[in-house]
């Protein structure tokens, strides 16, 4: 359930980038402070493990389909929340760059859905609270299942919210929810089962590995606070989109919020660039998105859409189509010429 660039609006994308960059920065700083030099190679290879594990499937009995491990919760149990977040984020980043799984803008959303949710929200707030210090068999089973389910449900929920807030998909919010949540109920159960099985395998084979994480974490309260803040940011960002009729409302609120969190990554680097660009483009009339929940009124909505449709009046559909074809031809031609000339230029050198 990777979020994809094509379903995202730049505002939502930038907001989620900011949130995820903040999370990654926070966790990097924490790890830097801990200075456990064993952690660098361990996180690296466990990321590789996660990646490799996701390529192995198992068949889910009775359905004929197959599943695999997402791993956010498992890594949090093994490495602690900060290292787990960085590891999941790095796997997602490789997937974005090499398999274009998701995409570069959607990376922020994906890190949030699959990394921050299980590692910084569910693990400290649910798993650690419930599991206690010396859990029995039953308790461990129940808590692991509940945590995995919760992580999956929250992840799926944020996919839905992000998609809806972006407004590219016409899928109504309620239908989308009804589609996503039950599917992820099943996936969450499977995730819980695999996590539990792997943890108990490790407990039998190398108990000392799990002992590392069983002590109470001193910084968990701060992490929890950070989690709450992030959550608030998300909800504020998502809801303000729905609440505000004024298209600029979200940009304004996000800019204000990201400014207020005063994490350095928000002002420097990519997110700032994204928001700045968004501000520039937003000076021109923003297209009102047709209210997806009211499909019958689409023509009316279209007529209110200020620009795109205004040019695309009745007759100009043809003009658009002709123009599209010509543009494609032009692009292809340019590429061919470039390739030829490139070859000609390179050939004498070589």
């Amino acid at each position: 359930m990777h979020m994809a660039d094509a379903l995202l609006s730049p505002t939502v994308g930038a907001a989620m980038w900011a949130v995820s960059a903040g999370g990654v920065a926070l966790c990097s700083a924490r790890l830097c402070r801990e200075r456990d030099d064993r952690l660098a190679p361990l996180m690296g290879v466990l990321g590789g493990f996660l990646f490799a594990a996701q390529m192995i499937n198992f068949s889910i009995p009775g359905t004929g389909s197959s599943g695999h491990l997402t791993g956010g919760l498992l890594l949090a149990i093994l490495l602690g929340p900060s290292a787990a977040l960085l590891t999941v984020a790095s796997v997602l980043m490789i997937q974005a760059f090499f398999f274009a799984d998701g995409g570069l803008l959607a990376l922020g959303c994906n890190i949030f859905n699959l990394g921050i949710v299980p590692a910084l929200l569910v693990y400290p707030l649910c798993y650690r609270r419930l599991i206690g210090t010396a859990p029995g068999r039953l308790r461990e089973t129940v808590v692991t299942f509940v945590s995995a389910l919760l992580a999956m449900q929250l992840g799926a929920l944020s996919v839905v919210l992000e998609t809806a807030a972006s407004g590219i998909s016409a899928l109504p919010l309620d239908k989308f929810l009804l589609l996503m949540q039950p599917i992820h109920l099943a996936i969450g159960l499977v995730e819980g089962a695999v996590t539990l099985a792997v943890v108990s395998f490790l407990r039998k084979a190398r108990p000392e590995l799990l002992a590392r994480q069983s002590g109470p974490s001193a910084t968990s309260t701060r992490l929890t606070l950070a989690g709450c803040l992030i959550c608030a940011l998300l909800i504020a960002g998502g809801l303000s989109r729905f609440a505000s009729v004024k298209p600029d409302g979200l940009e304004w609120s996000v800019a204000k919020l990201t400014g207020a969190t005063s994490l350095p990554e928000h002002r420097a680097g990519l997110p700032a660039l994204l928001t700045a660009l968004q501000h520039k483009t937003a000076r021109f009339p923003e297209y009102q998105i047709a209210p997806a929940a009211a499909p019958g009124q689409a023509p009316a909505a279209a007529s209110t859409a200020p620009q795109g449709m205004a040019v695309a009046g009745k007759g100009s559909g043809v003009a658009g189509a002709v123009g599209t074809v010509i543009t494609v031809l032009l692009v292809a031609g340019a590429a061919l010429i470039l390739r030829r000339s490139g070859r000609a230029a390179v050939a004498p050198e070589a």
Binding site: A4, D5, A6, L8, P10, G13, V24, L31, R38, A40, M43, V45, L46, G48, F51, A52, A53, M55, I56, F58, S59, L86, I94, F98, A100, G103, I168, S169, A170, K175, V190, V194, A197, R206, L209, E265, L273, L277, Q278, K280, F284, I289, A290, A292, A298, P299, G308, M309, V311, G317, V318, G320, A321, G323, T324, I326, T327, A334, G342, R343
Partner: protein, 270 residues
């Protein structure tokens, strides 16, 4: 386990492409990362019903692929395979959004179809841009570029380690899952029990490998921080590259080139 192999080969292939010697390859990675980000933001900032305005954007990946001498067919094939989620969600649009939006002669096109097509085109654009960036730059340089654009160093190190051991571990996992497949006739043996146990073994071996790696790193003076050996230069060429493509993307964002061209031509004809 064809997928393990396929994914690995794609990785290796992109990695090999990144070692090409064109001037685009030599450009400082930061320039390419910045230009690609501007491009993607411009593309996704269009409204859901805009289709023709997206088309001119193909000029960016097309030029990079051509000038970087990348295999266009291979990249196109990869683009066709990815983003099933976006397409799956997008295909719902025609069902929920039936209002007629366009008339192409006698053909009436509903808003849902237009926005679906728009989603597909966006997917193609963003995915091609990301893959082109990787194929022109390579992963390690991208990481270094991101560090110099503000990414935390701990995270960058983590990315480099991951990338290095991806190959080793994925091959290990591929062999293990192949061994399981050879002895599970049909799908019977591929249930949860053997899956979890296989993962457990893999995790154990991974952990032992991490311990050995740590030993190797300590043996060579590792103290918890990584020192960078080389760094590129962000010169005039890089600046020009970024400015040119950003300007072009923003212009294409503001003026619908295809539409203008089309009305010009149809205006002539009628």
């Amino acid at each position: 386990m064809a997928s393990v192999h396929g994914a690995l080969l794609d990785l290796k292939r992109l990695d090999l492409l990144a070692r090409g010697g064109t001037s685009l390859h030599r450009l400082d990675p930061r320039a390419k990362v910045l230009a690609t980000l501007v491009f993607i933001v411009c593309v996704v900032s269009f409204g859901p019903y805009q289709l023709s305005a997206l088309i001119p954007f193909f000029i960016f990946p097309a030029c990079l692929i051509a000038a970087g001498r990348l295999p266009a067919g291979y990249l196109a094939g990869k683009v066709a395979l990815v983003a099933p989620f976006a397409v799956a969600v997008g295909i719902c649009n025609p069902f929920f959004d039936r209002g007629i939006l366009l008339h192409l002669g006698p053909l009436e096109v509903s808003g849902g179809w237009v926005s679906f097509a728009s989603i597909v085109v966006r997917t193609a654009l963003t995915v091609t841009a990301a893959l082109t960036l990787t194929a022109l730059t390579g992963f390690a340089p991208i990481c270094r570029a991101l560090v110099r654009l503000g990414m935390p160093k701990t995270f960058a190190m983590q990315l480099l380690f991951l990338y290095r051991y991806l190959f080793v571990l994925a091959e290990e996992a591929g062999r293990a899952s192949r061994a399981r497949e050879l002895r599970s006739f049909g799908r019977k043996g591929k249930g949860l029990a053997s899956y979890a146990s296989l993962l457990g073994h893999l995790l154990l071996r991974t952990w032992q490998r991490a311990e050995r790696m740590h030993m190797a790193m300590l043996a060579r003076g590792y103290t918890g921080t990584f020192l960078a050996a080389e760094c590129g230069r962000f010169g005039a060429r890089e600046l020009l590259f970024v400015l040119f493509w950003s300007a072009l993307c923003i212009i294409m964002r503001l003026y619908n080139g295809a539409e203008l061209l089309g009305s010009l031509v149809t205006g002539y004809l009628s």
